[in-house]
């Protein structure tokens, strides 16, 4: 039984190949422009955080400095894993116009304070009293780290525990003026 003529078969084959090409483009195409966050290349959302020693910390006050914004929680094991690298890197960059800020999210205050005693290091840690900063920055879990350049734009987002090499890479990238910003 012959269902399709030869020309019909060719048309169906071309249709199938066309659909496969479109799906391939959807999955693999335009890789160059894929970003880790829609915020990358755009103005970093403004925040006013309250540090654990009671001071206000505003992003707009840090203009001209590179900012490493690290989201963490006391119950997060990878956060403990990256704590040493963060502290060592902060020691290295603290006099080079690089500001490290730890942002505690989805946590109990007492647990966060105990964590800071063990893993806190010397740079400021804070919380958002409105609990909005994590959504403003599109945080999906901890640890997540945003690198903000001196002009106040988000340059990169890194998900997972940091190492000193990763911090060096992204801090240096954030310090170099970006000509490809959208």
């Amino acid at each position: 039984m012959k269902i399709l003529s030869t020309s019909g078969k060719v048309i169906v084959l071309i249709g199938i190949l066309g659909l496969i090409s479109l799906m391939g483009y959807a999955i693999f195409g335009n890789r160059v422009n894929i970003k880790t966050s829609p915020l990358v290349g755009n103005k970093a959302p403004e925040f006013t955080l309250k540090t654990f020693d009671g001071k206000d910390l505003k992003l707009s006050d840090l203009k001209g400095k590179t900012v490493l914004l690290n989201f963490w929680a006391s119950w997060c094991m990878p956060c403990r894993q990256e704590a040493g690298a963060l502290e060592r890197s902060w020691q290295k960059y603290k006099d080079k116009d690089v500001v490290f800020i730890g942002v505690n999210v989805w946590d109990e205050n007492s647990n966060a304070l105990s964590y800071l005693k063990k893993f806190g290091g010397g740079y400021p840690h804070a919380t958002d009293p409105d609990e909005e900063i994590q959504v403003d920055y599109g945080v999906g879990g901890v640890p997540e780290t945003y690198f903000i350049d001196p002009s106040g734009n988000v340059r990169d987002k890194f998900t997972g525990p940091l190492t000193e090499q990763i911090i060096d890479y992204f801090v240096l990238r954030a310090q170099v003026p970006n000509n490809n910003e959208s």
Binding site: L19, A26, P38, G138
Partner: protein, 165 residues
């Protein structure tokens, strides 16, 4: 006590009580409508830390924060579109439960329709072809069978004649 004064007081109290009841009912219905709006918007957003759950369904901390932000923005007078745009700005379009029909997303909206149309056409074509083949077979068998029978009978008759002679 003047009975007129007592009557006026009674009317005044009744009016005040009625006013407070109406105000309370209106307030409750306004609060309900905000709840409904929060729910509606929350179901349009996917929870970024959950497997296939919307913000409306999820009990995660993040979904809770997101619902609070939706409520706050509604109370500030923001529209549904503005609130959705805020979340897209933070998390990207993947946060939307239904991807907007633009760019490559058109494929997601068009492919099911295309599949149904072409699948339907394929089935119709298959049924049509198989039916016409069946008819052809039937037609052929109706036309050829008597001839075969006739030949066969002829041959038998010839053989019988040969036998007789």
């Amino acid at each position: 006590m003047n009975p007129n004064n007592a009557y006026n007081k009674f009317i005044l109290h009744t009016l005040l009580i009625t006013f407070f009841i109406i105000a309370a009912v209106l307030d409750a219905s306004a609060a309900k409508s905000i709840d409904d709006q929060v729910k509606e918007i929350a179901y349009l957003l996917m929870c970024p830390v959950c497997q296939g759950q919307s913000v409306g369904e999820s009990n995660s901390n993040l979904a809770h924060d997101m619902r609070d932000i939706i409520r706050k923005q509604l109370e500030e007078g923001k529209s549904k579109e503005e609130i959705l745009a805020y979340f897209v700005n933070s998390y990207g379009e993947s946060i939307l439960a239904s991807p907007p029909p633009k760019g490559i997303n058109w494929l997601l909206w068009l492919l099911p329709g295309v599949a149904i149309v072409f699948g339907g056409l394929g089935i119709i074509l298959f049924l049509y072809k198989s039916q016409s083949n069946k008819n052809d077979d039937k037609h052929t068998s109706e036309n050829t069978r008597p001839e075969v029978d006739n030949d066969y009978i002829k041959r038998i008759e010839e053989e019988l004649e040969k036998g007789d002679s």
